[in-house]
Amino acid sequence: MPRKSRLHLPHVPARPGEKPDFSYVQLSPAGAVPRPQVNARVKDVAPLSLELVRVLDDNADAVGPWHPHLDASELQVGLRHMMLTRIYDDRMQRMQRGGKISFYIRSLGEEAVSVAQGMALRPSDMLFPSYRNQGLHIVRGIPLVDMMCQLLSNSKDMCKGRQLPVMYHSRANNIFTISGNLATQFPQAVGWAMAAAIKGEDNLAATWMGEGSTAEADFHYALLFASVYQAPAILNVVNNQWAISTFQGYAGGEQRSFAARGPGYGMAGIRVDGNDFLAVYSVTQWAAERARTGGGPTLIEHVTYRGAAHSTSDDPARYRAKDDAEHWPLGDPILRLKAHLIKTGEWSEERHQALTAELEALVGSSWKQAVTFGTMSEGPKLNADLMFEDVFKDMPENLQRQQALMRKEQS
């Protein structure tokens, strides 16, 4: 170029070989952010979109107006769900490495988002997850075996072999089918919520996407329709700082928080410590009550960190600093809740180890059971005839013919 470029490019704090730098993350002290009434006006809650709602402080104490005051038993359940999610992830990752499944995506470091929110919502609320919300399925009690059978595309696969691993769904448990196309679930969730309002029901819709996905049009459609019709919806942006190799600054995070998009569209926006089980639970409760009482939608940005590779097809060593997750200023969601429970005398190292062992055993036995329904290499296999079903409700003549041709080809 004749002259020097003046194009601004978002700053990426640390690349391979550099030391992790999270000074860009704007923090608020635990307990510092006020908790407005659930029916407060949007402009009065606008500051929540720039602050960071936190309950668990560095001494593992729960402090401030957002403290949800949950029973210890509930916290223990939350801890168990998060631990199970992580143990499940680790094992499935190894199964993929061992060639047992074709692909896998972990949620390492982000477990609090799905688990705390899943617990704060009602079973009748409809969930529109992304591919990194396995905690929701676990909270809703989807049997691990069923999830594993989906990963294996085996004879018991809920998707009949049509979807990539992790693209679960459960009609019975109100979890919508996950799409491989980013962001599409967001405005669908808003439409579901609009229908709930039209029908006069008080269920709400909750949906999740990563911060990188907010760049898609569907993010805009969702915020717009939710705002215009004041739909009872909770729109969650899980800001784990990375979209594959792309830093969150490239999605707009350098100039302003993602939560701040909410007030821009005239809806509440809250920025929350995504690794703080209590804070996530509490803001979700707030947003849910707001939605059910006619206060409209809330956009929640969960500030967290992607602890692992994007997926089993990815190698973050190529684009981000080594061991960066260990330097993440908001710590690890499981360790933080564990420490809090121990400090309040509701948990112990021993119980933690025992539970770990129990959950590992559960995952192990579930896997053994899952593979009896077939693996990629051994049967029982799904019948390839299924390829032609569910394109339409009734199989049209041309698909029946193609099905017959396929049979001939395979024989």
Partner: protein
Amino acid sequence: MANMNMIQALNSAMDIMLGKDPSVILMGEDIGYFGGVFRATEGLQRKYGEHRVIDTPIAEGGIVATAIGMSINGLRPVAEIQFADYIYPGFDQIVSELARIRYRSAGDFFAPVTIRTPCGGGIRGGQTHSQSPEGIFTHVSGIKVVMPSNPFDAKGLLITCIEDDDPVIFFEPKRLYNGPFDGDPNKPAIPWSSHPKGQVDEGYYKVPLGKADIVRSGEALTIISYGTMVHVAVAAATAMNVDAEIIDLRSLVPLDVDTICSSVRKTGRCVVAHEATRFSGFGAEILSIIQEECFWDLEAPIQRVTGWDTPYPHAFEWEYFPGQARVKAALQSVMEPA
């Protein structure tokens, strides 16, 4: 029975379905208070309320996406896209989502959404108010594609689509809204009241998908068409007085292959006519199926009559439109003795 133009017939279909099924809702740009830029939803918001006949933001992608979400929650949304030329912002939600939800969830979820949209030229709308993109959607597995050519079919087909559990894109040839059109813009416009298919049952009735209509039976050749071109084909065949069998497909997906092929087996000669551009248009699929199924019966190459492979220019609307002259040339050439 009553005289209805196509707008009134469509309005009647939606009116009946809103009354019959509380899960049916309408949504779209300017469709509510105003009644739609083509008046198709006139009076329906007043009758059924703002909560069932819903004005939306100008966001075709958002309209399709929220309609999908509503359908997952038990409603049957009928979404209007103001012009087919403006359906593309909703393309991803249609192709990647609407068409695949049943498939990817193994039938646990399905999205009974009907998308209505006016298509075609002939109203001096220029390149962004005249398009016929139906062919594109016929390549997308999981979507049904319908285009009526008259008020009677329009009403019966729309009711069928709204009750169908699969997603449907319902194309409305806007040049036919007020009357049949034989392709000659200089003739005075004639109203639907002068046409038998302008006689429409005021009650509930259905016209099935996947069943083509033999508009006129004949022995010499077969003309396969849909939408506006059905009328142009009839006029051209009459003018040339060839004993043509004229087939109105009505639905492109599902396609009535039997009716098409038995006609061509009988006549051995075939012309396929649509207003959309030629290259990779739906005519190519029809021609291909006939070639595959009826090869040994063909006595002459099948001819396609289509719009040109250009946008639809404002000043050359009638040079672009596949009028009687273009149809006649094709009829000529298929009639040439081998």
